[in-house]
Symmetry: C2
Subunit: 303 residues, 2 copies
C-alpha cells in the first residue's frame, strides 16, 4: 500500500464491490440447495442486504487480510459471509418483537415491505448462507483455513457474541445496568462481529498467533470506538443524516455509556480508544494503514 | 451390527445419548464466545431442545455413519449439529408470525414460556452453534471432512432447503398448489434436513461418490416417507398421541398429498416409497439394517 493511502477511495471501492457481489450472489440460481431457492425469501434477502450500506465489516476483513499481503478480491467471500450475518441481524433486530423499526436507511424494513414470517425466514437464510460461503473452496483453497473461518464467525455471531449482546441489550432496557454491564453488552452486540471480521482477515492471511493477538487487540478497540461513536451520534445527529429514528435509545430507556458518563467524557474516551486501536498495530507498518484509517473513521463518522 | 438388530433399543439409546449430550452442551460455560453466553438465551435454547424428542436426525447421522464402520460416539457431534438446526426451525416455526403454536410435545413453546424476542434469538443461536459444532475438531479430525459437513448442513437448511420449504409451505396455505408443488415443498421443508443427516453420516464415514449417491437416494425416499406419514397422521391421529394440535393442516388450508390424493392412495404410496428407500441400500449388507429399520419406522409410527 503506497504512503498516499486514500481511505475515501478504499471505502467507496469496497462498498461498491460488496454491493455488486451481493447482487450477483443473491439470485435464485446461486442459492439453490437440494431444491430450488424460494423466490420470496430471495427477494427479501435482497431487500435486506442490497441497501447501499457502508459494508464496514467486509472492509475490515479486506484491510486485515491486506496486512498479510492478501489481495482485496481474495478477501471478498469471507467479507460477504460477515456482511450476510450483519444483514441477517438487522432483519431480525428490526422485527416488531425486537426493536420494532419500520425504516432502515430510509427504506421500509423487510417485515414492512414483506411480512414478519418472510423477514424471519430471510434472516435465517442469510445466516445459513454465510456458512455456505465460507465452506466453498472459492473462499480459500485450504480447508483448514476455511474451517477456522467458520469457527470464528460462529463464535462472533452466536450466544457468546452478537446474539448474546442483543439479548443483553433488550434486558438492559429494563434498567439497572452498570458501566461494566454496558461494556460487556456492547462488546458482544457490535464488537464481536467486528472482532470476527478482523480476525477472519488475519486468518485468511495466515497470521501467526502473535500477529493474530495484535489484530485482536486492534479489533476490540475499534469495536468499542464504533459503538461509542454510535451512542454519541444517537444523542447528537439529526434523523435525516442517520436515515433512521435517532434519540430513540434514550427514549426506550436503552443503557448507553453516553447516558452514564455524559457527552464530553464519552468524546474524550473515544479519542483514547482510537489511540489504543492504532497502537495495537504498531508492529505492522504501512500495510496496516487501512485499518488505522478505519479506526479513525469509526470515531469521526457523522452517519 | 449383529443380525439380531434391535431397532427399539437403538432409537431409545440414541435419544437418551442426544438428550444427555445436549444437556451437557447447552450450558453457559460451553457456549461462551468473545463474551459470556447470555443466560436467558441459553435457558431458551435448553427449553427448545431438551424436550425428549425422538432425535431422528442424529439417529440417521449415526446409522449412515455406521454403514461405513464409524462408531456411534464419533457421529454424535455432527448429529447434535443437525438436531440444533432442527430445534431452531421448530422455535421459529412456532412463532406467532409463522405457525403460531402454543404447545409442542405437551409443553409451552419457547415464545410462550419466554417471549418472542427471546425465541427468535434462541433460534438464531441454535442455528449458529450448529456450525460451531461442525467446525470443532472433536467433530472429525480431518478439516476437509468438517468443511464438507458445513457445506452439507448449510445447503440442507438454507433457502434452497428447509427455510425455502417453510416459505413455500406458508405460500401454499393460500392454495393453488399442484401435487408437484407439494412434493417440492415437502422435499425441501422436511426432506432436505433428512437428506443432509444421511449424507453427513456418509461423509463422516468417507463414502465414495457411488456410495454417497446410493445413500442420497435412500435419504430422499426416507424423507418422503417421513412427510407422507406425518400428513397421514395429521388426518388420523388423536391430539393426545401427537402432543400437539392435529387436523390443523387441513384447518389452515395447508396443502398435503393426503388432501389431494385421499387417505387410501396415500397409504399405498407410502408402502412404495419405503420399499424404494430399502432398495437404495441393497449394496450395503447388514451394516445398513439400522437405516432400513428407520425407513420402516417412519412409515409405521403413530406419534
Amino acid at each position: 500500500m503506497p504512503p498516499s493511502y486514500d481511505f475515501a477511495a478504499e471505502i467507496a471501492d469496497c462498498a461498491r464491490a460488496v454491493e455488486a457481489a451481493l447482487d450477483r450472489l443473491l439470485v435464485e440460481e446461486r442459492l439453490s440447495g437440494p431444491g430450488p431457492a424460494a423466490r420470496r425469501v430471495v427477494a427479501a434477502m435482497r431487500h435486506g442486504s442490497l441497501n447501499g450500506g457502508k459494508r464496514l465489516r467486509p472492509l475490515l476483513v479486506r484491510q486485515a487480510a491486506q496486512v498479510f499481503g492478501v489481495p482485496a478480491e481474495a478477501a471478498m467471500p469471507a467479507g460477504l459471509a460477515v456482511e450476510a450475518v450483519h444483514c441477517y441481524s438487522l432483519l431480525h433486530d428490526d422485527l416488531p418483537a425486537m426493536d420494532d423499526d419500520d425504516l432502515r436507511r430510509g427504506q421500509p424494513t423487510v417485515h414492512v415491505a414483506f411480512d414478519e414470517a418472510t423477514a424471519i425466514l430471510a434472516g435465517d437464510a442469510l445466516l445459513t448462507h454465510a456458512f455456505a460461503l465460507l465452506a466453498d473452496e472459492t473462499c480459500h483453497p485450504d480447508p483448514t483455513v476455511r474451517i477456522r473461518l467458520v469457527a470464528e464467525l460462529a463464535a462472533g455471531s452466536g450466544v457468546g457474541g452478537m446474539v448474546g449482546g442483543q439479548m443483553r441489550d433488550i434486558e438492559g432496557e429494563k434498567g439497572g445496568f452498570s458501566n461494566g454491564d454496558i461494556e460487556v453488552m456492547q462488546a458482544m452486540k457490535t464488537g464481536a462481529l467486528i472482532r470476527a471480521s478482523v480476525r477472519m482477515g488475519a486468518i485468511l492471511g495466515g497470521a501467526d498467533p502473535r500477529a493474530l493477538s495484535a489484530m485482536t487487540a486492534y479489533a476490540q478497540a475499534a469495536g468499542r470506538a464504533f459503538q461509542l461513536a454510535d451512542d454519541i451520534l444517537d444523542v447528537t445527529a439529526t434523523s435525516e443524516a442517520m436515515g433512521k429514528a435517532t434519540g430513540k435509545d434514550a427514549g426506550k430507556g436503552k443503557q448507553t455509556l453516553v447516558a452514564q458518563m455524559g457527552l464530553e467524557a464519552a468524546r474524550r474516551e473515544l479519542d483514547t480508544i482510537v489511540n489504543d486501536a492504532v497502537m495495537a498495530l504498531r508492529t505492522f507498518g504501512p500495510r496496516a494503514d487501512g485499518l488505522r484509517a478505519t479506526a479513525r473513521y469509526f470515531a469521526s463518522r457523522n452517519s
